[in-house]
């Protein structure tokens, strides 16, 4: 479990240095695989069938359909990449914020909270959520913001998993459905953005004001 947590945070830190869209999707895919594996491990430890179903759903949706939809989008977005080189300071700042949120999460969350299911992953989950939030704020590419959203959702999911062994299955299935539809809607919007703006740089979206 500890190894998985370290890998997860490592992937998140790596993510802040990436400007290539395909590589970014690969990393978020790895991240989702780790979350699914965490589900299986908790399932083995607690003998709850619920956990295995959750692992299955995570693999199907976050490892399967969502990356597939994002990969399908890529050919339409040739030449699109996150501009990091030009603003290297910003990338460094992004990495710094990521490290800061990890330190804060581990520093502020007491490992001895009563009744927590898996105390060791709790800070990692909170920092992953924060990292996703920062990622959305720092990045301009539409696909990168989608990836930030998935990261945030992974963090939230892991949070639920570690604090109460996940929500009841019916609610979790609803959440999975929402995540899936959200990504599909965002992929449609990204595709349309490319068609009408010839770019998926969301910093161009600042016409509506006042």
């Amino acid at each position: 479990m500890e190894l998985l947590t370290i890998l997860l945070l490592l992937a998140a830190i790596l993510q802040t240095r990436v400007s290539n869209l395909r590589l970014a999707i690969n990393i978020v895919l790895v991240q989702s695989v780790i979350v699914a594996m965490a589900c299986v491990i908790i399932g083995i430890q607690t003998h709850e069938v619920h956990m295995f179903i959750a692992a299955l759903l995570t693999s199907a949706i976050k490892v399967g359909i969502i990356p597939f939809a994002l990969y399908r989008l890529l050919p339409y977005l040739h030449e699109e990449r996150e501009i990091v080189g030009r603003e290297i300071v910003k990338a460094n700042f992004s990495t710094f914020m990521t490290l800061l949120s990890i330190i804060l999460s581990y520093g502020l969350i007491s490992p001895n909270l009563p009744g927590v299911a898996v105390a060791s992953t709790l800070p990692a989950a909170v920092s992953l959520t924060l990292i996703g939030l920062f990622f959305i704020m720092m990045r301009r590419q539409a696909v990168m913001q989608i990836i930030g959203l998935i990261t945030m959702e992974n963090g939230l999911y892991l949070f639920g998993l570690s604090i109460t062994q996940g929500l009841p299955l019916i609610i979790e299935m609803g959440i999975f459905l929402d995540v899936l539809v959200a990504v599909v809607v965002l992929v449609i919007l990204t595709y349309r953005l490319k068609l009408s703006l010839e770019s998926t740089d969301t910093s161009l979206l600042k016409k509506l004001k006042g």
Binding site: P114, G115, V116, T129, L133, I136, A142, Q145, L149, M152, E153, L156, F159, G160, I163, T164, L167, P168, I170, I171, G174, I175, L177, D178, V181, A182, V185, L186, I188, L189, R192, L193, S196, L197, T202, L205, K206, K207, L208, G210
Partner: protein, 487 residues
């Protein structure tokens, strides 16, 4: 009751699926008119049954008087919006704004959106409520982006991004609330609203306090409360006008409803003071932040959108005062605002469709082009700015009165001043639009009967609601206020 709930969920789905299969406008019109009438009929029957039976509760569903108030809003608004959509969207096809094929997609998404809003109101589990609220965002996102032009895409992107991130924070809060419930030994009825209220006394106050912050930010984003309101003017101004009406009247109310359900639990755990101060702060800020945008605005639909931010703020102020009168007034204000604002968006839609612009400066002399619409528009603007004798005056007056009666005189005085400024701003623009000389080449225009009915019904409720409140409605509101107070 169970059959009614299932019907209310299935009918919109069936109507939406049928719409997808149709391509002829006439068939689409019939299907949607019938479907929407049926849904509204079912919802009204449900409300009537609630007044008889008080509560209906199963493992997943829960309806009481509080849900009934909101169900009324959704029932009325989906009906008037459908009625208004029929001629409006066909004219969009005729004007070449959308292709005929997109019409069936519009109705399918419209019905999906109604489905999501109805499910928010009838599920009895805070987790499922979250799922349904996120569902409303996703169903309406493609409606906001419906024209797929640059501005609509920008609005939709911001809408989905801001609301999804906001709602993720609400999920975070909900998970923390579940943690509080699980440690108190109530894990068997996970996040069930009734169960949570039942064991409120055993929940850990510190944990619930943290949870409430996230829940307030999350659902506050969806309800368009400042400073998380930035998506609202964009989405409201870019969506097709019937959808703008639904977003502003019904969707914001649904988000507030979920927030209120959470507040009831939180109040029972940590007392009323903490949530009330937060609500007063957010509410006051929302009224304040709308001012500059209402006073200097160039887009008529954005003007109405900022007025929605203001009214959500007023409702939140009412909830924040927390006395029986204030809660009653806040609930009444939700209904009043929904009726008035949806009507205004329909009228603004009719006007902008004829003038082919949303720019206030280019809209002049509506009174000579569409006399009846112009009259209703100015009357509704008078109503939304809180002038007597219309319905909004009553609820706004009660909210501000209760502010003064509960040591919030400064906040009350500030709100009154701000409301006067908003009155001035909105009157200035609407009178300029209504009167003056119409641009050359604009003759008299006939407005289609269904659209006229939709606007007329809403305007009639606006006027009648200021003079007379049916005893049945009054008793539902009283009961609902009692539920919010924890009774």
């Amino acid at each position: 009751m169970y059959e009614l709930i299932l019907l209310a969920l299935i009918l919109p789905i069936v109507t939406g699926a049928l719409s997808l299969l149709q391509t002829r406008p006439a068939a689409l019109r019939t299907v949607n008119l019938l479907g929407s009438t049926a849904v509204t009929g079912v919802l009204f029957t449900m409300i009537y049954r609630i007044t008889q039976e008080n509560v209906y509760s199963t493992e997943f569903f829960y309806v009481d008087h509080l849900s009934a108030v909101m169900l009324f809003v959704v029932a009325l608004l989906t009906f008037t919006a459908t009625l208004f959509s029929l001629p409006y969207m066909e004219k969009e096809v005729k004007d070449g704004s959308i292709s005929e094929l997109m019409l069936s997609r519009y109705y399918a998404l419209f019905n999906l959106f109604s489905f999501a809003m109805i499910s928010v109101l009838i599920v009895g589990n805070l987790g499922l409520m979250w799922v349904a609220v996120e569902g409303t965002t996703l169903a309406s996102a493609l409606l906001v982006a419906f024209y797929f032009n640059r501005d609509a895409l920008e609005a939709a992107w911001k809408y989905v991004m801001i609301c999804t991130v906001g709602i993720c924070l609400a999920l975070f809060g909900t998970m923390i609330l579940y943690y509080a419930q699980a440690t108190a030994g109530g894990a068997g009825y996970a996040l069930n609203w009734l169960a949570l209220r039942g064991i409120a006394a055993q929940l850990d106050p510190a944990v619930v306090k943290i949870a409430f912050i996230f829940i307030l930010i999350g659902y506050g984003t969806k309800a368009g409360l400042a400073p998380m309101h930035t998506w609202l003017p964009d989405a409201h101004s870019q969506a097709p006008s019937p959808i703008s009406g639904l977003l502003s009247g019904a969707l914001l109310s649904c988000a507030l409803y979920v927030l209120v359900r959470n507040v009831i639990i939180v109040q029972a755990v940590i007392g009323a003071e903490y949530p009330q101060y937060l609500l007063l702060g957010v509410g006051g800020l929302s009224v304040l932040i709308a001012i500059p945008f209402v006073l200097a605005q160039h887009d008529v639909k954005r003007l109405l959108a900022y007025s929605s931010v203001e009214h959500m703020g007023i409702i939140t102020l009412g909830l924040g005062v927390g006395t029986p009168l204030a809660i009653y007034a806040a609930l009444l204000h939700i209904v009043n605002h929904a009726v008035a604002k949806s009507a205004l968006f329909y009228m603004a839609g009719t006007i902008t469709q004829e003038y082919k612009t949303k720019n206030i400066r280019q809209i002049r002399g509506v009174i000579s082009v569409m006399p009846l619409v112009a009259t209703m528009f100015i009357v509704s603007i008078l109503a939304i700015t809180g002038s007597p004798p219309f319905n909004i005056f009553i609820s706004e007056f009660m909210i501000i009165m209760s502010l003064f009666a509960n040591q919030q005189g400064v906040l009350g005085g500030m709100t009154l001043l701000l409301l006067a400024a908003i009155f001035a701003g909105m009157m200035r623009y609407s009178l300029k639009m209504g009167f003056g000389i119409a641009p050359a080449g604009m003759g008299r225009v006939e407005v289609a009967a269904p659209a006229m009915t939709a606007m007329g019904v809403s305007a009639a409720i606006l006027i009648a609601g200021g003079i007379y409140l049916p005893p049945l409605a009054n008793s539902v509101l009283l009961q609902a206020a009692k539920i919010v107070l924890g009774g």
